[in-house]
């Protein structure tokens, strides 16, 4: 847990190689690598070059608008933002416990999203690397290449995603950027026709998800030398866990473990998240660096997402996914697995769990109920936390007596993984690039490490007014005429 390779001692003497943009990830980011004459690596950074500003421009807006507005952070997992904001605003409107119909509709929406997002990531974005090799022919290393060589796999990827999006459509009104969750509940229940339509497909969706776990397990275990060590670093990890320590994507309490699996904190009500987590700003990225307050900046950073969740929970409530979790834990050998490529394996276990939960929910008549809303004593502040596909997502709002938002703080899943991703690519750079002639295939190794985390870079750069910025006015000869900086 160090910051080695973050900042070179004399960058002006080094050669700069950039991967810009990083491909097959959500959003826009770039990697810069500084090399000396012998191709030795001195600095590696994942930069997030997008700039959003949602935390600022929802200030002054009515609170009931927020769940619909903030989901525009993302086109891949807008449901996460929609629900995290709704959960925070449930607290504001005093709806501490939703009706059974409302909570199950939200769960169905969320698990539909987990399914579609994980399918998108695995089949569309990562399967080219995993099926063809990291430095295989670049012209075939894409989803079209997968469709040509493995048509059934590609087709299932498309249909799994489509099913997840259908679940979102019937719960939120649209496949992308719907309106289903509102502060205090939901605006619709499921109709019998909608339920029956989903029931037609859910059984083979579960089976395909089981097959996907088998596929990635086979890929991983066939090449342990690569998959158990590629980009590896040890870190703390965190997620919410449900009752009895179950894997739960929608609701629970915060649990964090150190790199050996020892509990750092547990049963933490996420309304108090800011007593446990702090965010650091660094001048070279628009993405902040969170860490556990109790441990400090240098050693307190952590990872989130499937690899953290599957190893943080005590069990999974659905049988097929629980069986696969045990297989994974056995393979890891009783201590936490830290290999970034194991994210893929755990992501598919989660996809299977999502499919199984959807199946259970579709047999629950509460989804057809009519009691959609609750309200209680109005509060001025609320926090909503959810396990998004990419990890733990925090939404925190304050609302004034006129119902306008006065403060918003979002800690997005990918932000939680910021230091972890940087550590992974530094490890890969040391292992594969150090002292070698740089090629496209070698640079793709860096991207493979980033992709393992399934980063959503557009979501992660939401802050405005907090970043240390430097603006330079340069004349045609390259001389700095004027500069401004804010730190």
């Amino acid at each position: 847990m160090t910051y080695q390779l973050e900042t070179a001692a004399h960058p002006e003497t080094l050669r700069r190689v950039a991967i810009d943009p990083v491909s097959r990830v959500e959003g826009h980011g770039k990697v810069t690598i500084l090399l000396d004459d012998q191709n030795k690596v001195h600095q590696v950074r994942l930069h997030i070059v997008e700039f959003r500003g949602f935390e600022k421009f929802i200030q002054g807006r009515p609170y009931w608008e927020v769940p619909v507005m903030v989901q525009r952070l993302c086109g891949i997992c807008p449901v996460s933002h929609h629900l995290a904001a709704s959960k925070a605003l449930d607290v504001i409107v005093g709806a501490r416990k939703l009706t059974a119909t409302a909570e199950k509709m939200r769960r169905l929406m969320h698990y539909g999203q987990m399914l579609q997002s994980h399918a998108l990531h695995f089949f569309h974005l990562c399967s080219p690397d995993l099926l063809f090799g990291f430095d295989s022919d670049v012209t075939k290393r894409n989803i079209v290449g997968v469709a040509m060589a493995h048509p059934e796999t590609a087709k299932r990827g498309v249909l799994l995603r489509r099913f997840g999006q259908e679940v979102i459509r019937v719960t939120a009104g649209k496949r992308v950027h719907g309106t289903g969750a509102i502060p205090g509940g939901v605006n619709k229940a499921l109709t019998i026709a909608e339920r029956d339509e989903l029931l037609k497909d859910i059984y083979h969706i579960v089976q395909w998800s089981r097959d996907a776990v088998q596929l990635i397990q086979k890929v991983h275990t066939q090449d342990p030398g690569l998959y158990n060590s590629f980009g590896i670093f040890r870190s703390n990890f965190m997620s919410i866990v449900g009752n009895n320590g179950d894997l739960d994507f929608y609701h629970g309490t915060l649990r964090a473990r150190d790199d050996n699996g020892k509990i750092i904190f547990d049963h933490v009500d996420y309304q108090q998240y800011n007593q446990y987590i702090e965010e650091e700003v660094r001048p070279w990225s628009y993405m902040k660096f969170p860490y556990f307050k109790s441990i400090g900046k240098e050693h307190g950073w952590y990872k989130v997402g499937p690899l953290a969740r599957v190893q943080n929970c005590c069990q999974i409530s659905t049988p097929f996914a629980e069986h696969e979790r045990k297989e994974f834990v056995d393979y890891a050998g009783g201590s936490p697995m830290h290999a970034p490529l194991a994210y893929h394996w755990t992501r598919m276990i989660e996809m299977l769990h999502a499919a199984e939960v959807i199946k259970e929910l579709l047999h629950d008549d509460d989804l057809l109920g009519s009691d959609l809303m609750v309200q209680g004593e109005r509060q001025s502040e609320g926090v909503g936390v959810i396990e998004a596909p990419r990890g733990t997502l925090f939404h925190h709002y304050r609302v004034d007596e006129n119902d306008l938002v006065t403060m918003a703080n979002l800690i997005v899943s990918t932000t939680n993984n910021n230091q972890a991703m940087n550590e992974a690519i530094r490890h890969v750079a040391r292992r594969y690039l150090h002292g070698h002639e740089v090629t496209e295939g070698l640079l793709n190794h860096i991207e493979v490490a980033i992709r393992a985390f399934d980063p959503c870079l557009s979501c992660a750069t939401h802050a405005l007014g907090k970043m240390p910025l430097e603006v330079e006015l340069v004349d045609p000869e390259g001389r700095i005429v004027h500069s401004l900086s804010r730190s």
Binding site: R61, W64, P67, V68, G178, I182, D403
Partner: protein
């Protein structure tokens, strides 16, 4: 006494005193409009209802029908002009449909769809307008005002309160609240006011409603504005 005129080749009956848009509405023919409302005196300001009468442009909400008139409405030329006017309304204010709770129930949005508006075309003004959230039951979001004056007319002519007014001239015209503080909380505006019901866009909003109506159940989800009875019979 009953007469007729032709509208896009169809024979439309009317009685003395009816305007073109009133006669067209009664005959089930839609003419796009924003500031016109059948319950109020016409204002003639938005110009969306412009038609050609015997070859000359005129607002159909203010022009009385006359026997034998030849009226053109659904032509490419006129709809292109209406589209341009609608685009100007979009860029003059801050109309962010994706996060607007009026989306799906908004006459401006529905009109834009009807006219096939694919983009704002013009540069956005991005005006800096405040939100008035002072009233316990209502929110005023001036960002979306299209200056139709329906709230002004409703408050003055039906409610007898004069809560709203248009102030300024030309491009600086803007909606204000008639109170010393300029705040809605300092007026006698109430839930049952007609002015609370007539806003065609998302300016006058009942608080804490938000997105309570699901997608699919909103007014213009069910039928386009040209087929929505309320467009001719009042909202």
């Amino acid at each position: 006494m009953s007469h007729t005129f032709t509208l896009d080749g169809k024979v439309v009956p009317f009685v003395d005193g009816q305007t073109i848009i009133q006669a067209a509405s009664a005959a089930g023919i839609f003419i796009p409009h924003l500031c016109y409302h059948p319950e109020f005196k016409p204002h003639g300001s938005c110009k969306l209802c412009t038609v050609k009468v015997n070859g000359r442009h005129t607002a159909s909400c203010t022009m009385r029908a006359a026997p034998g008139m030849v009226v053109e409405s659904e032509t490419e030329e006129i709809n292109a002009e209406r589209r341009a006017l609608t685009q100007m309304l979009f860029v003059e204010g801050n109309h962010f449909c994706p996060s607007c709770e009026k989306s799906g129930n908004c006459q401006l949005q529905a009109t834009a769809y009807h006219l096939g508006m694919m983009s704002a075309h013009y540069d956005h003004f991005f005006p800096n307008r405040a939100v008035d959230a002072s009233h316990p039951d209502f929110l005023l979001d001036f960002n979306r005002c299209i200056l139709c004056s329906l709230c002004v007319r409703a408050s003055r002519d039906v409610d007898g309160k004069n809560v709203f007014a248009l102030s300024g001239r030309g491009i600086k015209t803007h909606l204000i609240v008639n109170a010393k503080s300029g705040q809605l909380a300092d007026t006698d505006f109430t839930l049952d006011d007609k002015a609370a019901q007539v806003c065609p866009v998302g300016v006058i909003l009942k608080k804490r409603q938000g997105f309570a109506v699901p997608i699919g159940e909103r007014k213009y989800d069910k039928a386009p504005i040209s087929e929505t009875a309320e467009t001719t019979e009042g909202r």
